[in-house]
Amino acid sequence: MITVRQVREVKLSAWQNTYYPELWRGMFITSKHFFQNFGRFIGRAVGLKVKRPLVTFQYPEERRPIAPRWRGRHRLMLRPDGAPRCVACMMCETACPDKCIYITAGEALDGRIEKYPVAFEIDLLRCCFCGLCVEACPEDAIRMDSGYIDLGGYSRAEFYLDRDYLLKDSALTTHSQFRGELDGVVVTRVDLLAQAKHH
């Protein structure tokens, strides 16, 4: 049975209806944080052991350091001869709790490993970045990249990663750079790791 709970509308008094008390209260909270943070900067500058102040990053020109353990978007690894390591065994597809990996296997007749992925697609919008695919892979073919966090796009289709995209050496390229939308910012993984260590 559905129980219905009636919620009475809150009636404001005439004084409350002027909104002045709430306006001032809001101003007070904002100013409190501003001066608090300001005080922390000054405190740090004079050598006091106060809490770390909050910093605004000018994203995307300026980037926040990422923890070394961060793992983001997937990539597929290559063998030394340039063929994908993936043998389309479907282990990642089976392990995936979100069912966001779609592999179609094909038969290679060129004398290499006989089974290879004809299509390997990941729907990032469904992915929960749990990393089970990486763990399940018997060939170390799928990895998740560290070092960048920006997964942006203007359409759903951009989050549907296909095999060729995943096979690109994506370690040094950010998502948006690959799409050719944000030029001029090159942050290498080494840099990011160094930054992360520094902090």
Binding site: C89, Y102, E107
Partner: protein, 559 residues
């Protein structure tokens, strides 16, 4: 009747039964590779070793070649047995490529299964010293051999020598060079070649048709029967519909034979095995078709059936039941034919019905499984008396001839593609001379093009049904998935037809229809849906056939 003890449990077995089968009576599995109940015992894999204690003396014996004897005490699980199996497995894995990720058998592989239980999980064999053999060998039109994966159990060799008598495979070489290969000059191309994949306990022999299509753990398994010929082999339908992106036109992944001692034992023919492709063919008929005006909106199946019923009724009213002919099919199930009988013969008094025609395709008959009659339910049609036309000396062909000559105003065709059954001239004549042709079809063909109204009907894997095979055995098909498009089972067409024509056919589902057959036909009396078990049930008055091993009369000598 020897009385023995297996793992402390007493069991009485028939005389001459070996220990693997005896253990199966207690649901104890003794691991084995080379033993197969349908083939001779060679005792080469040594995997089935168990401890046997007889009159106080303990020894090790292979279970496959040891007959159960009175007073035996068998231990299938002990330290000693475990050690033995571990050693045997280590030997098999010595040169095994361990390419389970790309092996189609992974998931149903005995090597994997037994290794999980008994394996020595740390290989003592250096990787560089592994012996490499041939991979991806084309041994026949349907079969791929990977001899690195082979454990040399010779099941496939024995199958080809004993069951089909063709002997295409053999083991060549000695020691670690021993390899399964084609016998020189022979390719594995017989009508039962697909069975070697089923008997192979590992992934050495794989099916080209199934190769890399799905992993086995994705598939669901439904027990059904093959409707490829009048034998009705018992099968498993392995199907998968979740991953449509892999191959949208493929709901059934493969068919596997299901053991039935008196029908097909462990085997099935390749024609049946690969015949499932027609279920998802590109030319499946997905929606009804009509030649008359449909007011521009999408046509529903009910509307088309209404049109057919109205046309049949008006023809009977004006010219009598003699103006209607039904070219029925022995490929229809018992339920379809029963309702056809009730509707046309009983109620509408239409007598121009037949199911046997000269144009029907004839298959190749052999001494194993294949029957020349490709209609799965001719016996059922006979029992359900859907063959009253013409009397002495006349048959379906005369009905067709009469239809061509224009003797009927309305012709209803079930399943048969008449455009390929007769000459082009005759077909055009039939079309010209007949006022109205209604057609029930699962596929688009020449007749769907010219028929007035066409109803799409479901195929065997899309509906539940029973079929009566040539022995008189009633067997069930299952319904793993829904019909393609707007197709409906044939019996539903007749039910809806009956509703419109004012004939009461109050059946809620196909089981109801089947259970009602017994009320009208003596041979079906007392047989209901539940009593048709997984192995089928014989018709009343038809005795079970005597058991005859399915085997060629000219087997090659034991391997």
């Amino acid at each position: 009747m020897p009385l023995l003890e297996i793992d402390g449990k007493p069991v009485e077995t028939p005389a001459g039964m070996n220990l693997i089968e005896a253990a199966r009576l207690l649901n104890v599995e003794i691991p084995h590779y080379c033993y197969h109940a349908g083939l001779t015992v060679v005792g080469s894999c040594r995997m089935c070793q168990v401890e046997v204690e007889i009159s106080g003396r303990k020894s090790i014996a292979i279970a496959c070649n040891t007959k159960a004897a009175d007073g035996m005490k068998i231990t299938t699980r002990s330290e000693v047995v475990h050690k033995l199996r571990q050693s045997v497995l280590e030997f098999y894995l010595q040169h095994h490529p361990l390419d389970c990720p790309i092996c189609d058998d992974a998931g149903e592989c005995d090597l994997q299964n037994y290794y999980m239980e008994h394996g020595l999980h740390d290989s003592r064999m250096p990787l560089a010293e592994k012996k490499h053999k041939h991979k991806v060998m084309d041994v026949g039109p349907n079969i791929v051999l990977d001899s690195e994966r082979c454990v040399l159990c010779t099941r496939c060799v024995r199958f080809c020598r004993e069951i089909t008598g063709t002997g295409e495979l053999g083991v060549f070489g000695h020691g670690r060079d021993a390899e399964l290969l084609n016998v020189p000059g022979k390719i594995l191309d017989n009508d039962y070649a697909g069975n070697v994949v089923d008997v192979c306990p590992v992934g050495a022999l794989t099916d080209k048709d199934f190769r890399f299509k799905r992993r086995v753990w994705y598939m669901k398994r439904t027990a059904s029967i093959c409707t490829g010929c009048s034998r009705g082999c018992n099968i498993f339908v392995d199907w998968e519909t979740d991953r449509r992106y892999k191959d949208p036109q493929r709901r059934i992944q493969r068919l596997k034979p299901r053991y039935n001692r008196l029908v097909n034992e462990w085997w099935m023919c390749d024609q049946g095995r690969y015949g499932y492709h027609s279920v998802d063919e590109a030319n499946r008929l997905l929606s009804p078709k009509t030649k008359s005006q449909s007011n521009g909106h999408a046509l529903s199946v009910d509307e088309v059936i209404t049109k057919i019923a109205a046309r049949v009724e008006s023809a009977i009213e004006k010219q009598g039941p003699g103006s209607v002919a039904v070219i029925a099919s022995a490929s229809s199930s018992n339920e379809d034919l029963f309702l056809l009988n009730r509707l046309f013969i009983d109620k509408l008094k239409v007598q121009n019905i037949d199911v046997t025609f000269g144009f029907e395709a004839k298959g190749k008959e052999d001494e194993l499984l294949k029957k020349s009659d490709l209609a799965p339910n001719r016996r059922g049609a006979l029992e359900l008396q859907v063959k009253p036309w013409g009397g002495e000396g006349q048959g379906g062909d005369d009905l067709i001839a009469a239809a061509i000559e224009g003797e009927f105003e309305v012709v209803i065709v079930v399943r048969h593609d008449l455009s390929t059954a007769m000459s082009e001239k005759d077909f055009a004549k039939l079309r010209r001379n007949t006022g109205y042709i209604a057609y029930l079809s699962s596929h688009e063909n020449g007749l769907t093009e010219v028929a007035d109204d066409v109803v799409p009907i479901a195929m065997w894997a899309e509906r539940e049904a029973t079929y009566t095979n040539f022995q008189g055995r009633v067997q069930k098909t299952a319904r793993p998935f829904d019909p393609a498009g707007l197709a409906i089972p044939e019996w539903e067409v007749w039910k809806k037809f009956g509703e419109i024509a004012g004939v009461e056919l109050n059946f809620s589902d196909v089981r109801d229809v089947f259970n009602a057959i017994g009320m009208h036909f003596e041979s079906f009396k007392g047989i209901n849906w539940e009593s048709v078990g997984s192995g089928g049930r014989m018709l009343n008055g038809t005795p079970e056939p005597t058991y005859k091993r399915i085997q060629t009369s000219t087997p090659l000598t034991a391997y």
